[in-house]
C-alpha cells in the first residue's frame, strides 16, 4: 500500500503542477474559449452574457464572461494583453479621453469615427457601430424637489449648489476633461461637498436624502424607480457615450464567424430596451445571465436579421 501511494502522489503532484495553465474544473481550454470582459454595471454584464449566448448559439466556440473589471481602462489593458478577447460594452466618450488620451469630442458621429480609426491603428481592434443606446453621465435630483424648485437644466442648480451635497462615481471625479474640476469651471458653481462612491449607491443616496444631487448614468432603471429627474445638460458639457463592442482583429482573423455574430447585435438594443434590461437586473434582482438568456430566446437569437 505504502509503496503504491508514493508514485501515485508524485504523479498527482506533477499533473497538477503541469496543468497550471488551466486548472481542471475552473476554465475550459483557452483555445476554444472566447473571454468576454465586462465592468461592474448590470448593463455591461447583461450584454456580455447576451454575446456569450449568441456566440455559443452560432459558433462552436465556448464563451466565458469575466465580470467586475475595475474600469474601462482596466478593460482596455485586459483586451490588449489578451486577458479578455471581447469588451462587451465600450463607450465612445470614456475611451476617447481614457484609452486614447485625446481631447473630448462633443459630436457623437465624429467621436465614433475617431475611436473606430484609432483603435484599429493603435490596438488593432475593431470597434463596432453602436448597439443603439448611449449611457451618458447626467446630473439627477429628486423629482419632487425639481418640481418645487423648478429645476430643469444643470445651470438651474446654481443658487442651490452651495448647500447641496453631490454624490458622484469614483472614476468620474478626477477624469480629465469631464471631471469635477472642469464641471465647476463650465457651469460656474461649486457644490458644498462632493462624495465619491460606487455608482450603484448614488441613486439610493439621493432618494434617501443623504445626497441632494448626484451624477447618474442616464440608462439606469433606478431613476424611474425612485422618481428622480435628469437635468438637461444645457452647456453640452458631458461628451457622447455611445455603446459598442470591441474585439481584436487577430481573433477575428482566426474566427471570422465572430464578426457576423457581433454585427447582428448592432442597432438592436435601443435605450428603452437597455432600460428594461437594467430594470430587471437592478430592481427585480435577476441575474444578468438569466436576463440575457431570456432576451436572446425572446428574439430567437436574431435569426431573421
Amino acid at each position: 500500500m505504502k509503496t503504491l501511494m508514493k508514485p501515485l502522489l508524485l504523479c498527482m503532484m506533477t499533473v497538477l503542477m503541469l496543468s497550471g495553465c488551466a486548472l481542471p474544473g475552473l476554465s475550459g481550454s483557452s483555445e476554444n474559449t472566447v473571454k468576454i470582459g465586462t465592468v461592474t454595471t448590470s448593463e455591461t454584464q447583461t450584454i456580455g452574457y447576451i454575446q456569450k449566448y449568441m456566440i455559443e448559439h452560432y459558433t462552436d466556440l465556448n464563451a466565458e464572461v469575466i465580470t467586475n473589471l475595475g474600469s474601462s481602462v482596466v478593460m482596455n489593458k485586459a483586451n490588449i494583453n489578451g486577458d479578455i478577447d471581447i469588451s462587451a460594452v465600450r463607450y465612445t466618450g470614456t475611451d476617447i479621453s481614457g484609452a486614447l488620451g485625446l481631447d473630448l469630442i462633443k459630436d457623437p458621429k465624429e467621436a465614433l469615427e475617431i475611436v473606430q480609426r484609432e483603435f484599429k491603428k493603435q490596438f488593432n481592434q475593431k470597434w463596432y457601430d453602436s448597439y443603439g443606446f448611449a449611457n451618458t453621465y447626467a446630473v439627477a435630483v429628486r423629482g419632487e424637489e425639481a418640481k418645487s424648485k423648478n429645476l430643469n437644466k444643470i445651470s438651474d442648480l446654481k443658487p442651490y449648489a452651495p448647500k447641496y451635497k453631490f454624490g458622484v462615481d469614483n472614476s468620474w471625479i478626477n477624469r480629465e476633461g469631464v471631471g469635477y474640476e472642469p464641471f465647476t469651471k463650465t457651469f460656474g458653481f461649486k457644490f458644498d461637498s462632493v462624495f465619491p462612491m460606487q455608482i450603484g449607491l448614488v441613486y439610493t443616496a439621493l432618494a434617501n436624502k443623504k445626497m441632494d444631487a448626484v451624477l447618474a448614468y442616464s440608462t439606469d432603471a433606478r431613476l424611474k424607480l425612485y422618481n428622480l429627474k435628469l437635468l438637461d445638460d444645457d452647456k453640452h458639457f458631458f461628451p457622447p457615450y455611445d455603446a459598442s463592442p470591441v474585439i481584436g482583429y487577430d481573433l477575428l482573423k482566426k474566427h471570422p464567424e465572430l464578426d457576423k455574430v457581433l454585427q447582428k447585435l448592432v442597432g438592436k438594443i435601443d435605450s428603452d430596451t437597455v432600460l428594461d434590461l437594467n430594470y430587471q437586473a437592478d430592481v427585480e434582482s435577476k441575474e444578468p445571465s438569466t436576463i440575457a438568456k431570456e432576451f436572446v430566446e425572446k428574439h430567437n437569437y436574431f435569426e431573421n436579421e
Binding site: I66, L69, A78, D83, G200, L201, T204, V283, S285, E287
Partner: protein, 218 residues
C-alpha cells in the same frame, strides 16, 4: 421578512448560477490550499530539521501574510493577468503560513525520547520521519490545513475583482444595485456556510488523525 422572500426568490430564479459559483469558489480555495500543502509541508519539515533556516523562512511567510489581500491581487495581476490562476496563486501564498508553521511546530513538538528510541532501534532518518514524526504530528499539520482552507474561502470572495468569479461575483453585484441586500446575503451566506462546513469537516479529520485515536482507525 421581505429580504427573506427576496432571497428565496433569488435562489429559485438563479439556482443553476449559484451552484456553479459555489462549486467554482470551493475549487479555487481548495487548489490554493492543495498547492500550499504540496510546497509548505516539505518546507515545514525541512526547517524543523535545519533549525538555522527556520527564522528566515518563518519571517518570509509572515511577511506574505501581512500583505493586504487586495494589494496582493493587484500586484499579482500585473504579472499574471486576470483570471482564476492569479487568485489561486495568492490563495497559495496566504495558505503557506498556517501550513508551514503548523508542520514546523508539529515536527519539533514530537517527544525527543521517541526519536531516540527510533534511532536506537536502527531506523534511518527517513524511517524516523515517516514512522514516528509524521504520524505524531499529523493532527497538528491537519489543523494548519484547516486554518488555511477557512482563510482561503474568505479571501476567494475578492477574486471577483480580477475576473476569477466565485461567490464574490454575487456579493459585488448586490453592492452595485439598489436594495441589493438580499443578493449580498445570497452570496455571503453560502460563503460563510462553506467556511463553517470546511472547518467542521477538517476538524473531524484532524481528530480522527490525532495519535490518541490511531487505534480506533486501525
Amino acid at each position: 421578512m421581505d429580504i427573506l422572500t427576496k432571497l428565496m426568490n433569488y435562489y429559485s430564479q438563479n439556482a443553476a448560477y449559484v451552484w456553479a459559483e459555489i462549486y467554482r469558489h470551493f475549487l479555487m480555495s481548495a487548489y490554493g490550499v492543495l498547492f500550499a500543502a504540496i510546497i509548505g509541508i516539505p518546507i515545514g519539515i525541512l526547517i524543523a530539521k535545519y533549525s538555522r533556516l527556520s527564522p528566515w523562512v518563518m519571517s518570509l511567510v509572515n511577511v506574505i501574510q501581512t500583505i493586504p489581500a487586495l494589494a496582493m491581487l493587484a500586484v499579482l495581476m500585473l504579472v499574471m493577468g486576470l483570471g482564476t490562476n492569479t487568485l489561486v496563486l495568492s490563495l497559495f501564498l496566504y495558505s503557506l503560513l498556517p501550513i508551514v508553521k503548523n508542520t514546523y511546530t508539529g515536527i519539533t513538538e514530537v517527544d525527543r525520547t521517541l526519536l531516540e528510541a527510533g534511532h536506537a532501534m536502527g531506523m534511518t532518518r527517513m524511517q524516523v520521519l515517516k514512522m514516528v514524526e509524521l504520524p505524531l504530528s499529523l493532527s497538528v499539520i491537519m489543523a494548519g490545513l484547516r486554518t488555511a482552507l477557512v482563510i482561503a474561502i474568505g479571501i476567494a470572495t475578492i477574486g471577483t475583482f480580477i475576473g476569477a468569479g466565485g461567490l464574490g461575483d454575487i456579493i459585488v453585484r448586490g453592492t452595485n444595485i439598489s436594495n441589493g441586500t438580499a443578493i449580498i446575503l445570497a452570496g455571503a451566506i453560502p460563503t460563510a456556510l462553506m467556511a463553517v462546513l470546511a472547518d467542521f469537516l477538517m476538524g473531524w479529520l484532524e481528530r480522527a488523525l490525532s495519535p490518541a485515536n490511531h487505534k480506533h482507525l486501525r
